[in-house]
C-alpha cells in the first residue's frame, strides 16, 4: 500500500511539472506575457526542469525556453548569462530527437538577436553540436539545426567562418537533396546567409557543389523555396567575376526568366537581384543575359510592379548600359527608356529616383544617338527639376547633376535642349550653350528654328563674365548669325532705337 502511495506522490509531482512546463510554453507564445514571466523568475525555474528525468518534460521545458528567448532579447541575454547554453550544447549529443529539436530551437532563438549572443553560442561549442545534429536522420532535427546555424552565420563574417570551420557546408548541401520542402528551404537560406559576407566563404560554399543543386531547384513549384534559392545564388554571385561565371555556367538563365512571371513578388525581386549581381561584373556576362532576352523580361517586370521592389530592376538596366555603347543601345532598342521615365514619374521615394536618374545617365552618355533617345523621352527637364528641387536629398541632387552633365555633353538634338535654356542654373547652362555652339554653325535650318523659337533672344539675355567659357560659347553662337539679327535681339535694343528717335530731326 505504502509503495503505491509513494509512487502516487511521485506521479503527482510529475504531472504537476508537466502541466507547469506546458502552460509556460503556451504562455510564452504571446509577447505580452513575456515581461510577466520574466518578472516571475521563469528562467531559474525552467533550468532544473531541463535536467529532468522524464524526457517529455525536458523537451517541453526546452521548447518553453526557446519561445521565451525568441520573443525577447533580454531573456536571450539572461539565458546566456545563466550558463544554460553549455548545458544545452552538451546534451544535444545525447538526447532523443524531440529534445534535439527543442534545444536547436533555443540556440536559434538566442542567436537571432545580435552578434554577441551568437558569439556566446559559438563559444559554448554550440556550433559543433549543431553540426552533429545535421547528420541525424530526422528531417525535423536537421531543419532546426540548419535554421540555428543560419541565424548564427547571418550576423558577420567571423561567425560564418566558425560555422564553415565546423564543417557545416557539405552537410547543408546534402540536406538540399532531401525530399522535405521545409528542410530544403532552410538549407538554402542558411547557405545564402553563409555566403553573403566574403568571397572566400562564397567560394567554400561553391566548392561543395552547391550551385548545381541550387540550380536544379529553380523550377520547383514551392514559392518560398524559390525565394531562398534565388537569394542564395545572388549572394554567391555578387562577390567576384569567377563566382558569377560559375553561376551562369549552371545554365539557369533562360529558365530563371520564367520565374519572373511568378505570382509571388519576392521571387521576382530575387530573380532580378540575381540578374543585377551577375550583370554588374563584366560586359561578357551582361551580354549573356541580354542575349537570352533578359532585358525584355526585366522591363516587363518594372511595368508590373510598384514601389521598392523596382529598385533591383532599375539598377540592372543601369549596370547593363554602363559597360558599352552597344549594350546601352540594346537597352534603348528594348524600350527601356520609356519604362524608366514611367518609373521616375510614378515613384515618390528619393533613393529609387536617384537610381533611375543614375541609370538614365549611364544609358545616355555614350554617343549622340543615345543622348537623343534619352532626350526624346522628355527626361531632361524632369531630371533638371529634380536637381533644382530643394526637397530632393543630397544623393538625388548629385546623381541628377552628374547624369544631366554627362547626357548634355553628347546631346545634339536641339528641340529638347531649348526648354533647358530657360530654366537651368549657370553650371548646367554652360553645357547647354556649348552644345548649341557646336551644332548651330553647321545647320542652317536649326539656326532659323533657333531664332524663331526665341532661343537667340534668351542667349542674349544670359549674363556671363567675359573670358569665361560661357561667354566664349555665346560669342560663337552670335558669330553664326548676321550682326543685325543679333543686335535686334539683344536686350535694350528697343530703348536704343527710341533714343535714336529722340535725336532725329526730320528733314
Amino acid at each position: 500500500m505504502s509503495q503505491r502511495h509513494v509512487v502516487q506522490v511521485f506521479e503527482q509531482y510529475q504531472k504537476a511539472r508537466m502541466q507547469f512546463v506546458q502552460t509556460v510554453a503556451d504562455l510564452a507564445n504571446r509577447p505580452q506575457n513575456i515581461e510577466l514571466l520574466q518578472n516571475a523568475g521563469v528562467l531559474s525555474l525552467l533550468r532544473p526542469l531541463m535536467l529532468d528525468v522524464v524526457p517529455s518534460i525536458q523537451h517541453t521545458a526546452a521548447l518553453a525556453l526557446g519561445r521565451l528567448a525568441d520573443n525577447s532579447e533580454d531573456l536571450a541575454e539572461a539565458v546566456v548569462k545563466e550558463d544554460i547554453l553549455p548545458q544545452l550544447a552538451h546534451s544535444l549529443a545525447s538526447q532523443n530527437r524531440f529534445y534535439k529539436k527543442a534545444a536547436a530551437f533555443v540556440l536559434r532563438a538566442v542567436a537571432k538577436h545580435s552578434p554577441e549572443l551568437s558569439q556566446a553560442v559559438v563559444a559554448c561549442r554550440g556550433v559543433d553540436a549543431l553540426v552533429l545534429c545535421l547528420e541525424e536522420f530526422d528531417p525535423g532535427v536537421k531543419e532546426a539545426a540548419a535554421w540555428a546555424l543560419g541565424n548564427i552565420a547571418r550576423h558577420n563574417a567571423a561567425l560564418s567562418q566558425s560555422v564553415v570551420d565546423a564543417g557545416a557546408v557539405p552537410l547543408l548541401v546534402l540536406s538540399l537533396l532531401e525530399p522535405e520542402m521545409a528542410l530544403k528551404r532552410i538549407a538554402a537560406s542558411t547557405l545564402s546567409d553563409i555566403s553573403k559576407h566574403t568571397p572566400e566563404l562564397a567560394q567554400t560554399v561553391v566548392d561543395t557543389g552547391a550551385i548545381a543543386h541550387l540550380a536544379q531547384m529553380i523550377l520547383s513549384p514551392d514559392t518560398k523555396l524559390k525565394r531562398q534559392v534565388f537569394a542564395a545564388l545572388t549572394q554567391i554571385s555578387k562577390h567576384s567575376v569567377s563566382l558569377a561565371e560559375m553561376v551562369i555556367e549552371a545554365e539557369i538563365f533562360p529558365a530563371a526568366m520564367s520565374c519572373l512571371r511568378d505570382p509571388d513578388e519576392y521571387v521576382k525581386k530575387n530573380v532580378v537581384t540575381l540578374m543585377r549581381e551577375v550583370v554588374k561584373h563584366t560586359p561578357e556576362l551582361a551580354q549573356v543575359i541580354v542575349n537570352c532576352g533578359g532585358l525584355e523580361a526585366v522591363i516587363d517586370y518594372l511595368g508590373n510592379c510598384h514601389g521598392n521592389v523596382r529598385l533591383p530592376g532599375i539598377m540592372m538596366l543601369g549596370y547593363v548600359a554602363a559597360h558599352s555603347e552597344s549594350l546601352a543601345m540594346a537597352v534603348i532598342v528594348s524600350k527601356g527608356v520609356p519604362q524608366l521615365a514611367l518609373c521616375l514619374s510614378e515613384e515618390s521615394e528619393d533613393h529609387i529616383k536617384a537610381a533611375t536618374v543614375w541609370s538614365v545617365g549611364q544609358i545616355g552618355h555614350h554617343t549622340p544617338e543615345h543622348a537623343k533617345a534619352v532626350a526624346t523621352a522628355n527626361l531632361l527637364p524632369k531630371i533638371l527639376e529634380l536637381y533644382m528641387n530643394a526637397r530632393s536629398s543630397e544623393d538625388l541632387q548629385t546623381k541628377s547633376k552628374k547624369a544631366l552633365k554627362s547626357v548634355l555633353q553628347k546631346c545634339t538634338y536641339l528641340p529638347s535642349l531649348e526648354p533647358l535654356l530657360y530654366e537651368a542654373p549657370s553650371n548646367i547652362l554652360k553645357h547647354v550653350v556649348c552644345q548649341f555652339s557646336k551644332v548651330l554653325p553647321h545647320d542652317s535650318k536649326a539656326r532659323r528654328l533657333f531664332v524663331t523659337s526665341g532661343g537667340l533672344k534668351k542667349v542674349q539675355e544670359i549674363e556671363a563674365e567675359p573670358g569665361s567659357p560661357l561667354q566664349e560659347y555665346i560669342n560663337a553662337i552670335n558669330g553664326c548669325f548676321p550682326e543685325e539679327i543679333v543686335r535686334y535681339y539683344s536686350p535694350g535694343y528697343s530703348e536704343a532705337l527710341l533714343e535714336r528717335l529722340d535725336d532725329y530731326q526730320p528733314a
Binding site: A93, P170, G293, L295, E296, S326, M329
Partner: protein, 302 residues
Amino acid sequence: MAELLKIKREFEEFQKEYYYRNREADENREKENQAATQIQSWFRGCKVRAYLSHLHKKAIIIQKIWRGFTARARVRQMVKAAYFIMKMNFYEEMAVRIQRTWRGFFVRKYIHNFYARKKYMEGLVMKNELVRRELDQLEELQKRERDCLDMVKEHTAKVYQAHRLHHLLSTKQCPGVFNSPFRPAPHEMELLLRQVKYQAPTRLVSRGKACLLGIPSSTSSSFPATLGSPLIKTSRTYSSRPILPPIANKTQQGLYREAGEAWEQRLHCRELMLCLQTSYMHLEEAQNQLRQLEPVRLRCIY
C-alpha cells in the same frame, strides 16, 4: 673837203655804226649766245640720244637672248617638276585607294562591323518579342494549373462539407434545408448531399479524411471524371469498408527513397558522403569521448 666831210661823216657813221653794231651785238649777244647754246645742246643731245638708243637696242638684244635662254631652262625644269608632281599625285591617290579599302575591310572585319551590329539589334528585338510571348504562355499555363488546383480544393472542401452535413438531406416526408419548395430546382448542396455516401463515424473517419486529403495531388486535370473517391456514391455496389487509394501514388511517406538513389548519391557526391562514412557505432563513440572529456572541460570552465 667833201671827202673829208664824207670821211668824217663816214667816220661818224662808222662810229655810230660801230657803236650801233656794238650795241646791237651786245644786245643780241645774250640772245645769240643762248641760241647757240641751245643749238649746240640740242645737237649734242641728238648725238647722245642716238648713242643711247644704239646702246639700248644692243642691250635689248642681249637681254632678249639671255632671258629666252634662262626662261627655256626654267620651263624645262617646271615641266619636269609638274610631271613629277602629277606622278606623285597619281601614286598618292592610288595609295589612298588601297589604304581606304584595307582600313575599311580591317575595321569592318576585326574591330566594328556596322551591319553585324544592326542585325544584332534587330535580332535582339525579335528575341525579346519571342521571350515575351513564351513567358506569357508559361504564365498562362501556370495560372491555369493553379486555378485548376484551386477548383479541385474547393470541390473537395464542398464534398467534405456535404459529408459532414449529410443529415440535412431531404427525405420523402420532409424537404431538407437546401430543397425549399419555393425554389424551381434543388440547391447544388442538395444535389451534392444526395451524391455523398454516408460513413459511420468510427475510427475509419480519420482514414477517410486521409483519403480525402490525398485526392488533390492525383487529380490535377479532368477532375469530374476521377472523383471516384470513396466518399461519393458510384453506380456500382460498395462494401462497407472504405476503399484504399490506388497504389499508383508515387509520393512516398517519410524518409524512404528509391532503391538506387542512396547508392547513386554515394557514387556521384563521394566527398559529401565522406562525413557519413563513419562507423556504425560513431554516435556511441562520440558520446563516450564527450563523457571522457567532460571532467576536463568542466574543470576548465569553472
